[in-house]
């Protein structure tokens, strides 16, 4: 890949510059050779400027209304193969259209002395030339001016140079050696964040976790989900994976009631609950929140789906009530598309277990003869190892797997 710079061609009439009146492309567009890039207006006519290369538009050389000198870079295009420009000098030239109109020092006829070199290799330790306001802005933008090429006489850095540098994204790429940032920001852990911190610390300190990760083939469940959503489109809430998973948990804890409840570790009593109150870990602008779907065992798929929607919206806009945030007996955590391959979920103390779901993706699965593309998803579940043995934990995970892989079993009244 290379960068191809298209300069404003001589549009005739012996003029030195033309006004940019319209852009037909924007950065990111794909252009082909001969596509019209822009309209420029001379004293007499509006002229279309065609592209002389094919590729992706990287940056425009001016805004509508700017006067562009003939020969100045109009646009930069990323092309296959080599471009007509080296990688970096573009930042220096980007300021050209602005600079040319005021490049008075160059026009002074100095025959006995040389004009100051426009680009100077700054030696180490020499401060770059820039006005106090440019320096102040650079500081605010976090730009190290020593890296910024200056287009002015003696390599002076103008506001335009700084703009071009910031726009070129070199700040973020860190292409050149960069100064150390020794700044340390103090952020006080207060409010909801402190609550989360305390809660997490209790969970992790009190509970020895055992985490089991298992993979689940999701094709059947996804087919069912798609079919249900298609059938009730517009009539009922759209089903995500969560109500199915809640159904599976309800079924699984029916056989293993020791996993559904709250462990009062101070008195040494486990409260096994008949109802399955499933917490749903929810990201809000203020941090993690866990609203609870109470009595998931009593709701239909759509009831639970509707309840999740209500709770998560309330949690995000901050209107959620206290009772909706308490009384959970088991929790689901899902990072959605960010779900990763496996996680080590932390149990929501004083509950006993947490079910984490990871990213669903098509993976090759060996069927005994060949690899098959299968829709797979991992589940990562943690258990309170003080009162739940590895064996029981594994049984629970296998039960979840089997229910999710054979979704019909979810709806067989046992």
């Amino acid at each position: 890949m290379g960068v191809f710079a298209i300069r404003l061609p001589d549009v005739g009439e012996g003029i030195a510059q033309a006004e940019l009146t319209e852009w037909h492309v924007k950065p990111g567009d794909i252009v082909r050779e001969d596509d019209v890039l822009a309209d420029v207006m001379t004293d007499k006519a509006t002229v279309e400027v065609p592209s002389s290369a094919s590729g992706k538009v990287l940056e425009l050389g001016g805004d509508v209304g700017d006067m562009i000198p003939i020969g100045a870079v109009l646009i930069r295009i990323e092309v296959e193969g080599e471009g007509n420009e080296k990688e970096r000098p573009e930042a220096q030239k980007a300021a050209e259209p602005v600079e040319v109109t005021e490049s008075a020092p160059e026009t002074v006829d100095v025959s006995s002395t040389q004009p100051p070199p426009a680009q100077v290799q700054r030696t180490n330790g020499t401060k770059p030339l820039a006005s106090p306001s440019v320096r102040a802005r650079a500081r605010e933008e976090g730009v190290d001016l020593r890296q910024v090429p200056g287009s002015g006489p003696a390599g002076r850095i103008s506001h335009a140079d700084l703009d071009a540098w910031i726009a070129s994204g070199d700040i973020r790429q860190g292409a050149v050696t960069r100064g150390r940032n020794t700044g340390v920001e103090e952020v006080r852990v207060v409010g909801m964040r402190r609550k989360i911190a305390e809660k997490m610390a209790v969970s992790n300190r009190q509970i020895p976790h055992i985490t089991i990760v298992e993979e689940v083939e999701m094709a059947a469940l996804e087919d069912l989900r798609a079919a249900l959503n298609a059938k009730y489109k517009g009539e009922r809430p759209k089903l995500t994976l969560l109500p199915f998973l809640m159904r599976a948990i309800v079924e699984a804890v029916r056989e293993q009631p020791e996993l559904n409840g709250r462990f009062d570790d101070e008195t040494g009593v486990i409260h096994r609950h008949g109802g399955v109150h499933i917490g749903i870990a929810t990201q809000t602008p203020h941090g993690l929140n866990v609203p609870v779907v109470h009595h998931a065992e009593a709701g239909s798929l759509w009831d639970n789906a509707a309840e999740i929607t209500r709770l998560s919206e309330a949690a995000r806009d901050g209107s959620i009530k206290r009772e909706d945030l308490s009384g959970g007996t088991i929790t689901i955590t899902s990072l959605g598309p960010l779900g990763a391959i496996a996680t080590t979920p932390i149990i929501n103390h004083p509950e006993l277990a947490i079910v984490g779901i990871n990213k669903m993706q098509v993976r090759p699965v060996w069927d005994g003869q060949q690899f098959q593309p299968r829709t797979m998803m991992n589940i990562s579940c943690s258990f309170d190892h003080r009162v739940i043995d590895g064996w029981d934990a594994a049984v629970f995970v296998q039960k979840l797997k089997s229910l999710l892989e054979n979704p019909a079993m979810l709806f067989v009244e046992g």
Partner: protein, 452 residues
């Protein structure tokens, strides 16, 4: 115990401290500023402002007394000066400015507390005024305690031995005055008294006056001192004073008064800075580019932080620290701090001196070739520009000449903006002014000066 609590406490209401207080007040910071004296510090009360008033008075007097010797065709009967009245006029200006500074701080919302301050710890300061004492605790503290004249053990202040403070308050013109120390303070005040008719002798230990500057800049001043009848002894040391005679290693000097101006020391003693064990840089409080001392939350600005001990440096530092406390992104990134000697002629320096920076060249333009200089009868002096050979960037400007202090803004502006020779050359300078010589000096560096 803590009577006052605030976010920002400033110790010292000199130019650094009061500017810091005004800016902090503007930024909505709860600010308290403490000083035992009147607001304005050394600069306003016993420094820059009063000395400029006396310099002006002496200039006027000298012009009148010497009118008949000048070519302007003016003659006057023998004029007289009542120095007590001059000093009263000077004091009225100081008073006006004291009130002005107080008003500005008040308007900005900063509280002024009168008394002497002493650190208890890094967050608390004890302020004493008479028998009253109260403590002030603050999140941030700025040390702006300034500097004081250095005393020579062999010439302790008192009686006929004056510091600059006493010299500015004399109500009678002494017949003779010995000035020990030929730096800018000694020369400014020595020139004042010479113009008022005092027999002045300057005793300087180095081999030329204004030893911080090269002789290219100091020669016009030395020549003028000679014209004014001032005796300058260089390479000389004062040994003691007795019965109206100053002994030096180069002989005796008859002197009614002796003015000792051998420098200024930072005021770090007596306010508890030593107990805080702040890292020092020689006698000064060491600061970084944010004016932060070695102790978190404690800043230092102005003379207490070292050279150059100049009011405008302190002001800029004070402004910056107020903005830092307000959470702004600022740092000390000044390229040049102009320094002015209000001698006759005045000397201004800004940025690098010749040969101070490698790869630089120096160009100069004399006022003898400046029309405006001729019309004011003062063709002495010159302009000098130090520029970098590689890119023509102007890195230093110096000048010596009458009234040149008013051009100093152009010097620092050019350097801060990163001007090069071509920029100054291509800027139209008004005619006829002394400032044209700056443009001419730059043109000369480029090889095409027009008026020389």
């Amino acid at each position: 115990m803590s009577d006052i609590e605030c976010k920002l406490l400033i110790i010292g209401a000199g130019p650094g401290g009061y500017v810091c207080a005004i800016r902090a007040g503007q930024l909505g910071i709860d600010t308290v500023i403490v000083d035992e004296g009147e607001p304005g510090g050394t600069c306003l009360n016993v420094g820059c402002i009063p000395s400029k008033a006396l310099i002006h008075a002496a200039d006027e007097f000298y012009k009148i007394t010497h009118a008949s010797q000048r070519p302007l065709g003016i003659s006057v009967p023998q004029p007289k000066i009542d120095l007590a009245k001059t000093v009263a006029w000077k004091d009225s200006i100081v008073k006006r400015l004291n009130t002005g500074v107080s008003g500005l701080m008040k308007k900005a919302g900063a509280r002024f507390v009168s008394g002497s301050a002493r650190f208890v710890d890094g967050k608390t300061v004890l302020v004493r005024k008479g028998d009253e004492e109260h403590s002030i605790s603050a999140e941030f503290i700025v040390i702006a305690s300034g500097s004081a004249p250095v005393e020579l053990p062999i010439l302790p202040f008192g009686g006929p031995i004056l510091s600059s403070t006493e010299a500015l308050a004399l109500t009678e013109v002494p017949d003779s005055l010995a000035v020990v120390g030929g730096g800018y303070i000694g020369l400014e005040l020595g020139t004042v008294f010479a113009k008022l008719g005092t027999e002045v002798t300057v005793v300087e230990a180095e081999d030329h006056i204004l030893p911080l500057y090269d002789t290219g800049l100091t020669r016009p001043v030395a020549e003028r001192l000679d014209e004014l009848g001032v005796t300058v002894m260089t390479g000389a040391r004062a040994l003691g004073f007795e019965d109206g005679t100053l002994q030096t290693d180069q002989g005796e000097v008859a002197a009614d008064k002796v003015l000792v101006t051998v420098g200024r020391r930072p005021r770090t003693v007596g306010i508890g800075i030593e107990e805080l064990a702040l890292t020092q840089d020689g006698p000064f409080v060491k600061i970084d580019r944010y004016c932060q001392t070695s102790m978190r939350g404690i800043y230092a600005i102005g003379d207490v932080t070292g050279e150059p001990m100049l009011a405008h440096r302190a002001m800029a530092q004070g402004e910056m620290v107020a903005e830092l406390v307000a959470g702004h992104s600022v740092e000390w990134d000044k390229r040049a701090i102009p320094a002015v000697c209000f001698t006759d002629p005045e000397v201004v320096t800004c940025g690098a001196l010749p040969d101070e920076v490698e790869g630089t060249k120096t160009t100069l333009f004399p006022f003898q070739a400046n029309g405006r200089a001729m019309t004011t009868e003062r063709e002495d002096g010159l302009f000098r520009v130090v520029w970098r050979e590689s890119d023509h960037a102007v890195v230093g400007i110096q000048a010596v000449g009458e009234g040149i202090s008013e051009l100093s803004a152009a010097f620092s502006l050019a350097i801060e903006m990163g001007a090069c020779l071509e920029d100054i050359s291509a800027t139209v300078h008004a005619h006829p002014t002394r400032s044209e010589s700056l443009q001419e000096a730059c043109l000369r560096a480029l090889g095409h000066a027009l008026h020389i």
